[in-house]
Amino acid sequence: MENAIEIKGLQTHYGDREILKNITVSIPQGRTTVILGGSGCGKSTLLKHLIGLLRPTKGQIIIKGKDISGLQEDELNEVRKKMGVLFQGAALLNSLTLGENVALPIREHTRLNDSTIGIMVRMKLDQVGLSGFESFCPSQLSGGMKKRAGLARALALDPELLFFDEPSAGLDPVTAAGLDELILKLRNVFRMTIVVVTHELASVFTIADYVIMLDRGEVAFNGTLEELKASDNEKVRMFLERRPEKETYSPDDYFRVIAGD
């Protein structure tokens, strides 16, 4: 199995706080990889490193043989042309219509004329089930439609790598299932490498081929979906069986907590 992304010894900080601690994992080519984990464990932070928004303190992120952690901005932009990202809140530009939003990356990176761009935009919107909506503003859409529009924009330049941050967060189960179906279709039809950050178990079982589970900035598990189901790792079982985590303080920590220090 060929790897699309290799992460080696990734370590990162916000200020003094260590968020990711020595992460080493690979993301397979042409498959859907799900990054799983509880809130605040560093999933979004990891994703932001993969798309070059944050730079690691230490370690390498190798995409197509290139370590992106040390690239200049314009070299990074070359890599980014092959990536599409759907952010948690869709991140459509509110001042533009849907059509203009989808056209944005095409205008920036190609010299196509307006009518060709118009055709591409309508194709992409059709692909996510939003044909006829190109003159709508983001504020006129429901959450699910916004995410679909954000996906259409992420697909605008036919990326090889597609990233999703919590695609089903804030959606009703039916809409979320629709989005999962779209993700499956993209992998099956276009053979894209897809990375999805989520904590929704239902969608993990639908879309995942490969799973990376994070816990407090460390990799608790990585393997295929079957391996995940069969795993007897304590952290994995707790997550899958939705058992609450017992807060375990060491006596020292407990003393510090109550002393308010």
Binding site: K81, V85, A91, L93, L104
Partner: protein, 268 residues
């Protein structure tokens, strides 16, 4: 003793560290704003012309009514105050000099800058800040679109053109306000007031005023953009940053004004 010294330097350090980061962040935005405005067009990546025009309309054209009204009143007030003093020495005609010179050299640019800070500087901070909070800035970056080029440069171009343009308007209307008052309430002859104004004004006065206005435009844009990009959290921080952008830009406008005015005083 050593603990007092330690405490003192510790405190200074704790204050200086975030300050150093702020300076660093500000320098980065200033640097890339100038790069994308002046250097990259020479390398064949032009500024976004249509967006710049629309920013000019928002920041410039739409503030014409408020700038006009305020400068008319300030012109009248200036003439009244001047007349109050000059009446006593029987030199009422010099109201024209005072109104003309103080408006073009000082009050025109500074009034305009304060109005534009309140209207556009705050709008810039709010726009960029809410885009930051909604990850729209991140989205632009991942699409390979530089947010400074996309958002800040059109605003910078707009204010570099519109603050001087509004200043010309403020000068003219302010002088007209003074003229109105002087020829009616004070009873000066319209033609001699006009002549006196024309004689009093030097090209230099108008030009230095416009140069200041141009610099104020840059300050207001950069402060708005800086505060916007500093937003990390949600809506309440956008509000806080918006307020901060108005306060900071008015403060910096005054500082820049002081600098330019002393420069012109000693070197022209």
């Amino acid at each position: 003793m050593s603990s007092i010294v330690e405490g003192f330097f510790g405190a200074v350090g704790r204050m200086a560290l975030p300050l150093r980061r702020d300076v660093h962040d500000a320098a980065k935005i200033i640097n890339s704003a100038f790069y994308w405005s002046f250097i990259s067009p020479l390398k064949g990546r032009p500024i976004r012309f249509r967006a710049s025009i629309s920013e000019m309309v928002k920041a410039g054209y739409n503030s014409v009514p408020i700038v006009a009204t305020i400068s008319l009143f300030v012109g009248i007030i200036l003439a009244l105050q001047a007349a109050y003093q000059l009446k006593r020495v029987g030199a009422l005609i010099y109201v024209a000099n005072l109104v003309g010179v103080s408006l073009t050299r000082e009050l025109g640019p500074i009034m305009t800058a304060i109005i534009v800070s309140g209207r556009s500087g705050s709008a810039f901070a709010a726009e960029i800040g809410s885009m930051k909070a909604a990850e729209e800035i991140d989205a632009l970056t991942t699409m390979g679109i530089n947010p400074v080029r996309y958002l800040v440069v059109p605003k910078l171009v707009a204010l570099m053109v519109m603050v001087p343009a509004l200043t010309v308007l403020a000068d003219l209307i302010g002088i007209f306000g003074g003229f109105l008052l002087a020829t009616t309430a004070v009873g000066l002859h319209p033609y001699s007031y006009f002549q006196q104004t024309v004689n009093a004004l030097l090209i230099k006065d108008v030009f230095t005023g416009l140069l200041k206005a141009w610099a104020f435009g840059i300050v207001i844009t950069l402060v708005g953009a800086y505060q916007g990009f500093k937003v990390e959290g949600g809506a309440e921080e956008v509000g806080r940053r918006t307020t901060a952008s108005v306060v900071t830009s008015i403060f910096l406008v005054i500082i820049v004004d002081l600098f330019f005015t002393s420069l012109f005083y000693f070197f022209t």
